[in-house]
């Protein structure tokens, strides 16, 4: 992975930068808030994609929006790059540090500011974990719907930056559909409020644009979210298949029948084995593919839907169906799924999580081709994914300490992603482009397409200092993008027919 060449001039000014940061964010009760020693920096050297590592120039842990604003303004004026970091769980290297960039950690933005049931909204600082928001409103039977499997740790700011999804997004939408407002700080230090407890933006939908912007447009300091009432009943079904293709058919049949389950996930044998060891969720061990289908709503509706799904499954000839009998059991079913990625760490030293989306109907075919590739690359692969939205997560297992295995895993991953695009899908469904899929962007987008995205970047961060080297395979300078091409005194588009 090639990263932009670090700017030696900036690195040589490190002590001045550190000094200024220390002025802006003084020492706190529990230690320095500016981290400079190499050991301390190593705690920030990577995110959830640990194959890529880099010590940052310096880490700063601000506590207030004003401090963030001052830091960004200073960096903007002195040409210092900045990488924002939430909980560091990105699986695409979005929060990968740069040798010549300040890493701005939002770990201290960990307070929920306001819970407002009348408006069904929560206002929180951006470093608060996704799960703790649901926990905070759980006593009143509310929850925050998007639930990435990493919800126990990932920050809500990171969720916004990545437009994270989760097992319940099939019915309740992604982060972007559940977001009401943001406070952001631009690279020039401007603090901007977008949205609030009301709906729709005034002017351009910058709230929507910030969502999924992977830390390239602004730093998110505060988030207003929509919370939902917990459904009266929710029951999860475990459905086992001897054949992955059949499971794929089942997914298509359920959606095709007009049912939108609140979650529909798939796990294969390897994934089942690994998670069962940690969670003891009671997954069956003698099947090839497991579907977890959750249905929610009033009791009668759920009962009715379960019967309908059962019919579909019976029609396909699956032998194994188990329906959760209690809330605890339902949570257990999900706990296994949610811990599935890291649990793979029990059966392999390293794994590489791929994240492509495909049209649901292509599921069986794509799964088959992935298993062929697995033989070709001689690397095992476990599949755990959001089947309902066609969002695949093949987990390629490798050993980073073995020469060449990482490279092979990456090639394997690339081939999977190209296949996804080929069948009408995309490179990433929820983990973001980051550095990992950066160089594949040209497989999906033309030069012209990418230019427009970069123009947006230029509108927010004209100096290109926020999280550079991510998302875009080549970074154009904004001045160059902004130029209107006029050659030899001709008009910009000389060969245009006149109307």
């Amino acid at each position: 992975m090639r990263m932009p060449t670090p700017d030696a001039k900036i690195i040589s000014k490190r002590s001045i930068i550190v000094e200024r940061l220390q002025q802006i964010v003084p020492r706190g009760a529990f230690g320095e808030n500016v981290i400079i020693d190499s050991a301390g920096l190593s705690a920030y050297e990577c995110d959830g994609l640990s194959a890529y590592r880099q010590l940052p120039l310096v880490v700063v842990l601000p506590e207030t929006t004003e401090q963030v604003s001052k830091i960004l303004k200073y960096c903007n004026e002195t040409g210092v790059k900045v990488v924002a970091r939430g909980a560091g769980t990105s699986l695409s290297g979005g929060a990968l540090p740069l040798a010549d960039a300040v890493m701005l950690g939002l770990g201290k933005f960990n307070q929920i500011l306001n819970i407002d049931y009348a408006n069904r909204a929560v206002v929180t600082q951006s470093g608060v974990t996704n799960l703790s928001i649901s926990e905070a409103v759980s006593a009143a039977d509310f929850y925050y719907a998007p639930d990435p499997s990493s919800q126990i740790v990932c920050s809500i700011g990171g969720n916004v930056a990545e437009n994270s999804g989760g097992v319940h997004c099939l019915k309740y939408g992604l982060t972007t559909n559940n977001l009401l407002g943001l406070e952001i700080v631009l690279m020039n230090g401007d603090i901007i409020k977008l949205g609030g407890k009301h709906l729709d933006s005034e002017g351009y939908d910058l709230l929507g644009i910030m969502t999924g912007s992977e830390g390239l447009l602004g730093v998110i300091t505060e988030v207003t979210l929509r919370i939902l009432k917990k459904p009266e009943t929710a029951r999860a079904m475990l459905i086992g298949f001897d054949d992955a293709a059949l499971a794929g058919d089942c997914v298509a049949a359920i959606i095709g029948s007009g049912i939108i389950p609140s979650g529909m996930e798939m796990m294969d044998k390897l994934a089942i084995k690994a998670t069962e060891e940690f969670v003891h969720a009671g997954y069956p061990s003698n099947i090839e593919t497991l579907l977890i289908v959750e249905l929610d709503g009033p009791l009668d509706e759920v009962t009715d839907l379960i019967a309908r799904v059962q019919n579909i499954v019976n029609g396909l000839g699956s032998g194994y169906i188990r329906v959760s009998e209690s809330e605890t059991e339902r949570e257990k079913f999900w706990a296994g799924r949610k811990a599935a990625f890291p649990a793979i760490g029990r059966i392999t030293p390293d794994y590489y999580c791929v994240d492509g989306t495909i049209p649901r109907a292509r599921l069986p075919e794509v799964l088959m081709r992935i298993s062929k590739m697995s033989q070709k690359y001689k690397l095992r692969v476990a599949n755990v994914f959001h089947a309902g939205d066609g969002n695949l997560h093949p987990l390629i297992m490798y050993d980073a300490n073995k020469l060449g295995e990482l490279e092979r895993a990456e090639e394997f991953g690339t081939e999977i992603l190209i296949l996804c695009v080929e069948v009408g899908g995309v490179l990433t469904g929820e983990h973001g482009v980051g550095v990992e899929k950066r160089d594949l962007m040209e497989k999906v987008f033309t030069e012209e397409d990418l230019k427009q995205q970069q123009r947006l970047k230029c509108a927010f961060d004209p100096n290109g200092l926020l999280n550079p080297g991510k998302v875009f395979p080549t970074l154009h300078r904004c001045a160059e993008l902004g130029r209107v091409h006029i050659h030899h005194g001709q008009t910009p588009f000389p060969d245009i027919p006149r109307f």
């Binding site: 706190g28 009760a29 529990f30 230690g31 808030n33 981290i35 020693d37 190499s38 050991a39 301390g40 190593s42 705690a43 920030y44 050297e45 990577c46 995110d47 959830g48 640990s50 194959a51 842990l61 909980a87 560091g88 769980t89 950690g105 770990g107 201290k108 933005f109 960990n110 470093g127 974990t129 799960l131 703790s132 926990e135 990493s150 126990i152 740790v153 990932c154 998670t275 060891e277 940690f278 969670v279 811990a339 990625f341 890291p342 649990a343 793979i344 760490g345 029990r346 030293p349 390293d350 794994y351 980073a400 300490n401 990482l406």
Partner: protein, 430 residues
């Protein structure tokens, strides 16, 4: 995770094992929210994942660790919440223990600090010395503000009233009431028997009432945890060996069905003897045997039956999980079930479980963080205590007990004291 250990480093079996353990970490961060120090500081160096990286860095580089690494290792509570949270199966306990040991051997602490740490272990683990120290501390209470935070914290932890233990550490046999169903060895604990002898008294009353013969074996002393947790592995191993030998002697001579521990911190340690000696041909088997025999008091009760409950109108109580029980030994439900069967209404502390900050000698060595954690825990407890008319806080470890007692008006007791009371024993405080 990718590691960069040299072949030479890997030839050290301990180091190789650390590497293997380390490689399980997939950097998912699932452990972060469970970590008390991270939740307070928001600084990843103060998180399990961060510490794992810092330690890896230290081990790979070899030589003297830098002072920052030492700071973040020292600030770890060893509460092991991270280990329960880790889906990937990283054994953080062994990892941090090794790191502390490494620091102890490769890092020169400042003279005063070194002295304090040594003194601490020596004092607490030697009952007589400890008693004297506590008396001095009591006298010093009014003057504590003249000392630094660490010392003043030590002084403030000392109880104002000290009961002389009726039951001493001396070897003795307490016969079973009625038909004997088991013969069990009790670990009296070093600090516990000085600070709170009633815990052992209640344990013995309860167990004998349950039909067990309780023996305090000659030679059994401190479990070694305290030294172990500040990296003094040699002292810890010596203590462990002494205990192993003493219990095995008892086992061989008069038989021993179980070893019972009522101080959860000690329980975690004794259960880990097997690991401690797994590369020691002489002690490997012996240690395994002792670890296998060891039960927390609540586990033993679960295997048998609580005596008939004699009390009525039991008060509501709040139960705090000692980290060494819930994470160290995976015991969560048992104490609650026993308290409920004994007729107590158990009120849960809202929110996620966190360490109280006691953590062995942590509250003495890291007072700022320890006090913050105590205050946070007590604030949460306060949220439910009044509304549920609770005046008693129960826990399964002496450390937590003392930690809480120094900051709340609630009466803080050991679970076993309540169980004893409800089944015909004495009502705490005695």
């Amino acid at each position: 995770m990718k590691t960069n250990f040299t072949a030479d480093q890997r030839s050290n079996p301990l180091m190789a094992m650390m590497e293997e353990n380390l490689r399980k970490c997939v950097h998912c961060g699932f452990c972060l929210p469970s970590c008390p120090t991270y939740s307070v500081s928001g600084d990843e160096r103060e998180s399990p994942r961060g510490r794992i990286y810092l330690i890896k860095d230290m081990l790979e580089r070899e030589g003297a660790p830098n002072k920052e690494i030492v700071t973040h290792i020292d600030s770890c509570l060893s509460c092991l919440a991270c280990m329960s949270a880790c889906p990937s199966g990283v054994n953080y306990q062994h990892y941090i223990d090794y790191a502390r040991h490494y620091v102890e051997n490769h890092h020169q602490r400042r003279g005063f600090e070194r002295f304090m740490r040594m003194l601490l272990v020596y004092t607490i683990t030697h009952a007589k010395v400890f008693k004297i120290a506590l008396k001095v501390a009591k006298l010093a209470k009014p003057f504590s503000r003249f000392f630094g935070l660490k010392i003043s914290n030590m002084i403030s932890m000392a109880p104002t009233k000290l009961k002389t233990a009726e039951i001493t550490n001396e070897a003795r046999i307490y016969p079973a009431e009625g038909i004997r169903i088991k013969r069990v060895g009790l670990l009296m604990g070093c600090a516990q028997n000085v600070l709170r002898p009633s815990v052992n008294e209640a344990t013995i009353r309860l167990l004998t009432r349950m039909g067990m013969e309780v023996v305090v074996s000659d030679g059994v002393g401190c479990c070694g945890a305290l030294s172990h947790h500040i990296g003094k592995n040699d002292i810890a191993r010596d203590s462990a060996k002494t205990n192993i030998d003493a219990w095995l002697k008892e086992f061989d001579q008069r038989g021993l069905d179980n070893i019972i521990i009522n101080a959860a911190g000690c329980g975690t340690e004794v259960k880990d003897y097997a690991y401690m000696f797994k590369d020691d041909p002489a002690y490997k088997g012996k240690a395994q045997k002792i670890s296998d025999l060891t039960r927390d008091i609540s586990e033993l009760i679960s295997e048998h039956q609580l005596p008939t409950v004699k009390l009525s109108n039991q008060p509501n109580i709040i139960y705090h999980d000692a980290c060494s029980l819930i994470h160290g030994q995976g015991i969560r439900l048992e104490p609650r079930e026993h308290l409920k069967s004994a007729g107590f209404e158990v009120v849960e502390i809202p929110g996620r479980h966190f360490c109280c900050g006691s953590a062995g000698s942590y509250n003495l060595l890291q007072p700022t963080m320890a006090n913050e954690l105590k205050d946070r825990r007590l604030a949460l407890i306060g949220e439910v205590s009044d509304s549920n008319k609770v005046s008693i806080l129960a826990t399964g470890n002496i450390g937590c007990l003392m930690q809480f007692a120094s900051g709340t008006d609630l009466q803080v007791v050991h679970t076993v004291e309540l169980l004893d009371w409800a089944t015909g024993g004495l009502k705490p405080p005695y």
